[in-house]
């Protein structure tokens, strides 16, 4: 297999429930990875992230075609998940207002295609360096980009919790263009995570733990470290190790 995957999700030390949900599926020659971080209401968050992962898996299972571009399947599957969450929320008052941030990654041969909504992130670890492939859809990120606040202000901003894009919100999903796209080379590591990880750790600290060694041990060490630092939120990590043609 050119791709190996390790993943782990943990409730953290403060929250009562884990509203994160993740999936890794191999369907028709594609490796599909997703993390959804649910939000809203009493039980809505947990439900929304599960609907997101399940409906995306179902979409790929029923719609996968040999020569169909991964980009359009990603968009359609996210649209399906968006609609599904809205429909569930419309039908059950207890789920009113639920939603989920998400990152979705599809690997076909040596190409990684991805999209995200909200503050789930995707990182590339290559040559012992870490690079953020996604830019958070958050209020604070936007205020920072527009020069309204400084980096220091952004780190402790009381509204760090506000995301501008998510599944289950509006009936239009507005994606960043173009779709994220990356050619993989041997020994690349792709790391996707919910905000529970990077809220307590800098990118460099994540790199230190994740850059080498057995990926199963890496995900465990990342979760342990986030918990050691308070575990204020649910923590979910998936690491993909791309080993190219070596079988």
């Amino acid at each position: 297999m050119p791709v190996s995957v390790a993943n782990l999700s943990h409730t953290g030390m403060v929250r009562a429930v884990n509203e994160d949900y993740f999936g890794y599926f191999r369907i028709g020659g594609l490796d599909i990875l997703i993390i959804a971080d649910g939000m809203g209401g009493h039980r809505g968050g947990k439900v929304a992230s599960k609907i997101a992962v399940d409906s995306i898996r179902e979409y790929f299972e029923t719609h996968i075609k040999e020569n169909h571009p991964a980009e359009s399947m990603i968009d359609e599957s996210l649209n399906t998940a968006n609609r599904m969450i809205r429909d569930f929320a419309a039908a059950d008052p207890g789920l009113y207002g639920m939603g989920a941030t998400a990152v979705l990654l599809v690997i076909r041969e040596n190409r990684a295609v991805f999209r995200h909504l909200g503050d789930c992130r995707l990182y590339l670890i290559r040559d012992e360096k870490i690079r953020r492939l996604t830019r958070d859809h958050t209020l604070v990120q936007k205020l920072l980009d527009d020069g309204i606040i400084t980096l220091a202000e952004s780190l402790f901003h009381p509204e760090r919790n506000i995301v501008s894009k998510a599944l289950g919100g509006r009936f239009y999903l507005e994606f960043d263009e173009p779709t994220g796209n990356l050619e993989l080379i041997n020994n690349d590591r792709l790391l996707m995570c919910s905000d529970g990880l990077f809220d307590s750790m800098s990118d460099e600290e994540i790199l230190e733990i994740a850059k080498s060694g057995d990926i199963n041990k890496c995900v465990q060490a990342l979760v342990d470290e986030a918990n050691k630092r308070g575990g204020n939120d649910n923590i979910t990590v998936q690491i993909v190790l791309y080993t190219g043609d070596k079988i």
Partner: protein, 592 residues
């Protein structure tokens, strides 16, 4: 349950009024968006408080009205969202803050009697206040007479001055948090609650509507807040009370935040030139970006507010009570009067005047009469509704028979809608930063607004089936109104074009087989039906009117932000009937 808007009776569990679409659960204490009520058994909180009814529910938790079973005292009880009380950090902060709030004892502040923890849930036991919120009061009156506003706001200043001296910052001053009793006394509620409940992840769209309208620049930057931040928020509230609108409003909450930090507010006199000059001076000072340039405490602000009343330019109370027409409208009508008088004079001078006058009137009428929007007749007959290639909610495909009807050739324009606003029938559309040319389609109107307009124009909203038939090719089931060719920017305005709203009728080659324009792209359109994804399974195939009830209304046709997928004539979208969107307008229809 009686609808507060139109008075019609609805079943007890209805979420929205079946006649006018108004949400039915909104009560005197407004706490953001209120989901449908659930019936519950007799609920006792803290051994003695018997819950009478649920007053509201939102991001800040549930609010109940309850009665103490020994003393008979009526209270409002706020239950914090359970997921918050399970968070250890939030728990500690809550207890510290609640202790401080319990110290507040002032005639203009809703008293916090007690707080308690039970079954891992936190409850705030508060004074129950009869009355309405300032938000509802402004909505009912449009805007407040100057003297009435001065009375209300100086009481709010008293409340804030008192709390600030005790070191308590409100943090969420807005019309919805200011209660007015029937004898016009003010009670400010929810002191510091915003601080208690912050911290859970929210979508920007999940934040209660309008929350950002009242935020101070320093709050947006995430800085420490002091008393002057509350004064800024109260300044915005006063601005709204006097002019009927907030100074910063835009298509996105984000733009509003940015404006608070970077843009100077427009003078309130621009909205209403009959306001005293002092109102401008006071409002622009309290809305300074830098807290040091504002009034430094509530007492100072109160004094300034009272100077508005004593200003010699104050208009008389008799005039105020009629609801103040804006200067612009007054000017227009007086001009019109003069013009008509002149015309009559000239015609009389010319002789044969009466005959000519009548004739002249006839000639002019169609141009100014908004009811004369061009309509297309769609003859009776069968058409194919839905699409096999579409999403699940477009199936099963059905042969549907419709009677003949007329439908507007174009979407309702800004000019046409404005006539209804001027007639004081329609509410003003939400203000978005989009093309507002008179012949651009009106947007920022809710389903309820659209319905009101069409009824005023002696028409109605088209049903979903009527809309889809008018968007089709005669006798053929094509993907798009013009046929099966993929959309391009000559046929339709969608996300691949320049993302700007266009005037109606700009896409002649995108016309449907019946010659109806703009059915794909530019703005999406409200139609009459409730949305149900399974509607086609059970629908009536002769003149279908959609489900009897629902939560969302159907939106059709895609907008300038839509992908080509959403431009398909069978594509179905939906939204809450009260939602005002930048991308959704409407057109009307009428039966033969």
């Amino acid at each position: 349950m009686k609808c507060p808007k139109c008075g019609s009776e609805n079943s007890q569990d209805s979420k929205f009024c079946l006649s006018c679409g108004e949400p039915l659960t909104r009560k005197t204490i407004a706490v953001g968006v209120i989901p449908p009520q659930q019936t519950e058994e007799k609920l006792i909180i803290g051994k003695n408080y018997e819950v009478v009814k649920k007053l509201g529910e939102g991001g800040m938790g549930v609010v109940y009205k309850a009665v103490h079973n020994l003393s008979g005292q009526e209270v409002a009880i706020k239950m914090l969202p359970p997921e918050l009380s399970q968070d250890e950090g939030i728990r500690t902060r809550f207890i510290n803050e609640a202790r401080l709030l319990a110290k507040l004892d002032h005639p203009n502040i809703v008293t916090l009697y007690n707080f308690l923890e039970e079954d891992q849930k936190f409850y705030l036991i508060m004074q129950f206040v009869k009355g309405k919120t300032l938000e509802d009061h402004i909505r009912e009156k449009g805007k407040l007479p100057v003297d009435e506003a001065v009375n209300i706001f100086s009481q709010v200043c008293d409340a804030l001055g008192y709390a600030h001296e005790l070191g308590v910052i409100h943090r969420d001053i807005k019309p919805a948090n200011i209660m007015i009793t029937p004898d016009m006394r003010v009670k400010v509620m929810d002191f510091g609650i915003a601080k208690l409940t912050g911290g859970t992840k929210l979508t920007a769209t999940g934040i209660a509507v309008g929350t950002v309208w009242y935020m101070s620049p320093e709050q947006i930057r995430g800085a420490e807040l002091d008393a002057r931040s509350d004064l800024y928020a109260l300044g915005i509230t006063l601005y709204e009370a006097l002019t009927g609108r907030v100074p910063f409003n835009s298509e996105s909450d984000y733009e509003v935040r940015k404006s608070h930090v970077e843009v100077n507010p427009p003078s309130p006199l621009m909205h209403d030139s009959s306001l005293p000059q002092a109102a401008e001076t006071v409002l622009l000072k309290v809305l300074s970006k830098n807290p040091a340039d504002r009034y430094q405490n509530a007492q100072e602000f109160k004094k300034a507010i009272e100077s508005i009343r004593t200003s010699p330019l104050v208009i008389t109370p008799e005039y105020q009570s009629q609801g103040i027409p804006t200067e612009q409208i007054q000017k227009k009508s007086s001009n019109k009067g003069i013009v008509i008088a002149l015309i009559i004079l000239i015609l009389i001078l010319c002789g044969g005047a009466v005959y000519y006058f009548l004739f002249h009137q006839k000639m002019l009428a169609p141009q100014v009469n908004p009811l004369r929007a061009e309509q297309v007749y769609i003859p009776a007959g069968e058409f194919t509704m839905g699409s096999e290639k579409g999403k699940d909610d477009e199936k099963p495909v059905k042969k549907v028979l419709l009677s003949g009807y007329y439908i507007d050739k174009y979407e309702v324009t800004n000019l046409q809608y404005q006539k209804c606003v001027e007639a004081k029938i329609c509410g003003a559309p939400q203000d978005f930063l989009v093309n507002k040319s008179p012949s651009a389609p009106v947007v920022g109107v809710s389903y309820n607004d659209a319905k009101t307009f069409c009824e005023w124009a002696k028409k109605r909203l088209p049903t979903e089936a009527e809309w889809e038939k008018a968007a089709s090719q005669k006798g053929k089931n094509t993907e798009y109104p013009w046929g099966d060719e993929k959309p391009d920017c000559k046929r339709a305005n969608f996300v691949e074009c320049d993302l700007k709203l266009k005037e109606v009728g700009s896409f002649v080659s995108g016309a449907s087989g019946y010659g109806v324009m703009d059915m794909a792209g530019n703005v999406a359109e409200w139609v009459a039906d409730w949305y149900d994804k399974n509607a086609y399974l059970t629908m009536n195939t002769t003149n279908p009117k959609g489900p009897l009830t629902g939560t969302y209304r159907v939106v059709r046709g895609g907008s300038f932000k839509s992908t080509s997928m959403d431009l398909r004539k069978s594509n179905r979208m939906y939204s809450s009937p009260s939602e005002r969107l930048m991308t959704v307008g409407f057109r009307c229809a009428r039966s033969e």
